[in-house]
Symmetry: C2
């Protein structure tokens, strides 16, 4: 069995894992120091439980989309998503969820159309990466691990795989946050700057990405019977303390993360013979792990 | 129901479909002329039938990886994949298939390690696009619709979503073609120039992308019972003529395709307010459709 296992393992030699599961074999300058792992606060972690008990964990980005995240917290506190569903799965695009009937009233404190928050009018700088791509003059990471793109004056979160955004109607709708989607294919970066990005799936992605695709051209499930029921959505901070899942993000503004990026940009022999010399921001998403 | 439908349709406003299914509402400079649609020869179309009768259609790229495609044709002619399986599904990476035991002897005419064919040492030119990205000095399309990247001296096929490559062992293995994989997540462009790319899934992608993810870190199915059986793999040319599926690719070396690309680079109101001004090659894959 050696050959296929080698082929398989070689093929996966540099695959990113959202949650780091195994310590590296030998010390490397790319290894995180203990202090590089920072806690994701309980109020920034959404736990979505689907039929069958499958759980999807979403890190929220209140620093970048505060009004939308405030809405999302209120919706979670009101248990608003309980009994709603995943109703759309479009191949190489998004899985989307919420209330497909749109009859369910929003909680009174939820703002129907918050400020857009599609980008922020400043350049915070990005760590290490600073690479242009077809969509941005510069891409990189925020210090707290988000994929950021910028034109030097404005900055925005990039629609990488697993990032979560706010479904909306035509302007002036900005989306309340009651309908959300996660990217399940090649990063649709044309959505950047046009839609509010509120977080990232950090665990449980397969429960969104491995769903049957909807039959219509938009991937909408044509039969209500195909909807995947959402049992509950809670902030970790709403759960009993001993039940809270705890995650950490890897800080990026340090030489160890720079070395990690460099390794992704120049994959090594024996499997790789031609290093790329660069990497797309969405192929270099900063790691997140369960707190040990 | 108007609002969610609008939100849903707006979100999908510019979604690429591998196979065009609906004619555009009004004439556009981006519309293909009838002659822009070129037939994919029967000898360049692989039909993989999975348990349940689900079919995956793969366009082959013999012009770019001739030796590997020759092997693949021989494997198909020998019905070699019949009874093999999909044995690995790794989230945001690949679905891989073949013989997981690697005990099944290859047909005698199949070359175990063909020439690498990871790139070709010339610059053919690309149509219209000619945009750099983190992985290549220039990306674009071949005239016959493949996503191509180049450094001006060598060229190679890009590992976009749905592209199919040859699993291999460490060098000097180049992979016979008996074990293949399709990209089911963000394009792993670091694999470019390091592995032979032999084609693209043009229909039936969901039967590869919506599979349960394997439990191990590499996505390998840990139990043989989870393998997805492959009933058969045939070239369209091996099928009775009246049973052959027929597909067309859209030619790219014309002003209409240039307009199509331009539309993808600058998505329009009312949904989009900030045009990207560019597009990643993997967000601009040339259309393929069933022959009408």
């Amino acid at each position: 069995m050696l050959k296929p296992l080698l082929a398989l393992s070689a093929l996966a030699a540099a695959v990113p894992a959202v949650a780091q599961t195994a310590p590296p074999a030998a010390p490397s300058p790319a290894d995180a120091a203990a202090a590089d792992w920072q806690p994701i606060p309980d109020s920034e972690l959404l736990v979505m439980t689907l039929r069958g008990g499958h759980q999807v964990y979403i890190r929220l980005a209140p620093r970048y989309t505060p009004a939308h995240v405030t809405n999302i917290r209120k919706l979670a506190e009101a248990h608003w998503w309980d009994g709603t569903a995943i109703y759309r799965v479009q191949d190489n695009y998004v899985t989307q969820w919420g209330d497909p009937t749109e009859k369910k009233p929003l909680p009174p404190t939820v703002i129907e159309n918050p400020p857009a928050e599609y980008e922020w009018a400043r350049y915070d700088g990005v760590t290490s990466f600073a690479r242009p791509d077809p969509y941005a003059a510069k891409t990189g990471h925020s210090a707290d691990g988000w994929p950021v793109a910028t034109d030097g004056k404005a900055s925005w979160l990039a629609h990488c795989y697993g990032m979560v955004g706010v479904a909306r109607d035509m302007a002036p709708s900005t989306g309340s946050g009651a309908a959300l989607y996660a990217v399940i294919g090649h990063a649709p970066r044309h959505l950047d700057r046009n839609i509010a990005v509120i977080g990232r799936v950090v665990e449980g992605m397969q429960w969104l990405s491995a769903l049957p695709r909807g039959g219509g051209s938009l991937g909408i499930y044509e039969n209500d019977a195909d909807h995947v029921p959402i049992l509950s959505v809670r902030l970790a901070s709403q759960l009993p303390e001993d039940e809270r899942p705890r995650f950490q993000y890897r800080a990026t503004d340090n030489v160890r993360f720079a070395a990690w990026l460099s390794e992704r940009e120049n994959r090594k022999p024996p499997f790789f013979t031609v290093p790329a010399g660069g990497a797309d921001i969405c192929n270099a998403q900063a790691p997140v792990r369960r707190a040990p």
